[in-house]
């Protein structure tokens, strides 16, 4: 088990006042809150911070932690000294953190496990529907286009008969309906938390997110594609082939098109109830000028066109 330096995690000295502890928590919590932060280890950092604050905000736990001494280094193998907690009285049974199941082994060793009642101690008359649980799953664009079945693995803290919190893993095969869009939810009835005292189980709510696609971008039900075209296709107009997730389609490029011109293929986005659109954004590609013939062609253009693209800059 690794020693955790709660002061270091919160960027505090050991002499910090309780006010300073609170201020440091507020500041760091805003920085690492998973809803706000886009840093990829934000969630882990936020949990670590929550654990550190759980100890340092509580003068009893902080005093007990301080008693371990200052010679420990973060990450060092840790075994609590015998009778380290002698003479400390923790109020109200262990601790009160709501996400206690996710605290580290180090924390558990010092302050015990969550002080939940085990289910056997609930009064007989007590019935309650289990809680709905949530998970986010990532699918590919093609999954929504065609509809498919995906295997997902979920883990959630669960309490065993002795009241110990452990991470339970399970695998589920989930039907992904055609046309589902990012941010939409699938409800799996009865797959949430079990009910208490014969109450109904809660539901599992899966929030859908899309993996980044190498070619397409998805926004709500619309799909976007950057499509390279030649200068003459853009300027003179052309009929070309375009890949879409549903297959290759014909596209008419109108004459006088520009770099960045956006063309809409109606109804070729996600096949939702109201199907989205497919947008093609023209990207003009220049042919290379390696051969003498190609160079001659560019030189001909240079002579034919009286063209200064920097005219608006006055040069």
């Amino acid at each position: 088990m690794e020693y955790k330096d709660y002061y270091k995690i919160m960027g505090l000295s050991r002499t910090a006042t309780q006010d300073e502890v609170k201020r440091a928590y507020r500041k760091l919590a805003r920085k690492y809150h998973p809803d706000v932060s886009k840093e990829k280890d934000a969630e882990a950092k936020f949990k670590e911070l929550g654990e550190a604050y759980e100890v340092l905000k509580d003068t009893e736990k902080r005093a007990a932690y301080d008693k371990l001494g200052t010679n420990w280094k973060a990450g060092e193998d840790f075994r609590p000294p015998p009778n380290w907690d002698e003479g400390f009285e923790f109020k109200g049974g262990n601790f009160t953190g709501s996400d206690a199941g996710v605290f580290s082994d180090f924390f558990e060793q010092l302050f015990g496990r969550a002080g939940f009642h085990s289910p056997g101690h609930e009064p007989h008359q007590f019935h309650a529907r289990g809680q709905d649980t949530h998970a986010k799953i990532y699918i590919d664009l093609e999954d929504s286009i065609k509809g498919t079945t995906r295997n997902i693995s979920l883990s959630a803290p669960e309490m065993d008969a002795q009241g110990h919190v452990q991470l339970k893993h399970r695998n589920l095969n989930i039907k992904i309906p055609q046309g589902i869009k990012p941010g939409q939810h699938i409800r799996l009835a009865g797959q949430g938390d079990p009910g208490l005292g014969g109450g109904k189980a809660g539901d599992l709510l899966l929030e859908i997110a899309f993996n980044n696609h190498p070619q397409y971008r998805v926004s709500d039900t619309d799909i976007y594609l950057d499509l390279p075209v030649t200068p003459w296709e853009a300027r003179l107009g052309a009929k070309i082939k375009v890949p879409t997730p549903g297959g290759i389609v014909d596209l008419k490029i109108p004459p006088h098109s520009e770099q960045g011109t956006k063309l809409r293929l109606k109804g070729l986005g996600l096949p939702a109830k109201t199907p989205g659109n497919f947008y093609v954004i023209l990207q003009i590609a220049l042919p290379p000028a390696h051969s003498e013939e190609a160079k001659a062609a560019y030189q001909k253009m240079q002579h034919e066109f009286d063209f200064n693209p920097r005219i608006s800059m006055g040069v």
């Binding site: 507020r26 809803d35 936020f46 809680q131 589902i180 939810h185 009835a189 709510l205 950057d226």
Partner: protein, 105 residues
């Protein structure tokens, strides 16, 4: 092949836009109706329907209520602060999406 081919396939129901009742939303987020009502009053979420009995919420509301709950619980943000934070976060998200759309490759 792998063992999950032996597992049964679960077919869920898609939560369509404006399909959740107040009760369902409360169950889904583990909160009291009062809390959701105060979010509606602060116009943090906007249900379809005028009367509370016919309110219908979208899956987007579900995501917003859960974010609001976390902001309140983890950061101690009040309702006005939650409204501001969520709107700014939405704007940021829209701009990130726009940037992705505009950025070549």
């Amino acid at each position: 092949m792998t063992s999950h081919h032996l597992l049964p396939v679960h077919t869920g129901t898609v939560i369509e836009d404006d399909s959740l009742t107040l009760d369902q939303l409360c169950d889904a987020c583990g909160v009291h109706a009062e809390w959701v009502i105060s979010l509606v009053e602060e116009s943090i979420i906007e249900p379809q329907g005028d009367e509370i009995q016919v309110w219908r919420f979208s899956g987007g509301c579900l995501i917003r209520v859960r974010s609001a709950l976390r902001l309140h619980h983890d950061l101690g943000v009040n309702l006005a602060g939650i409204a501001l934070a969520l709107d700014l976060m939405d704007e940021l998200e829209n701009m990130r999406t726009q940037l992705k759309i505009m950025k070549r490759d």
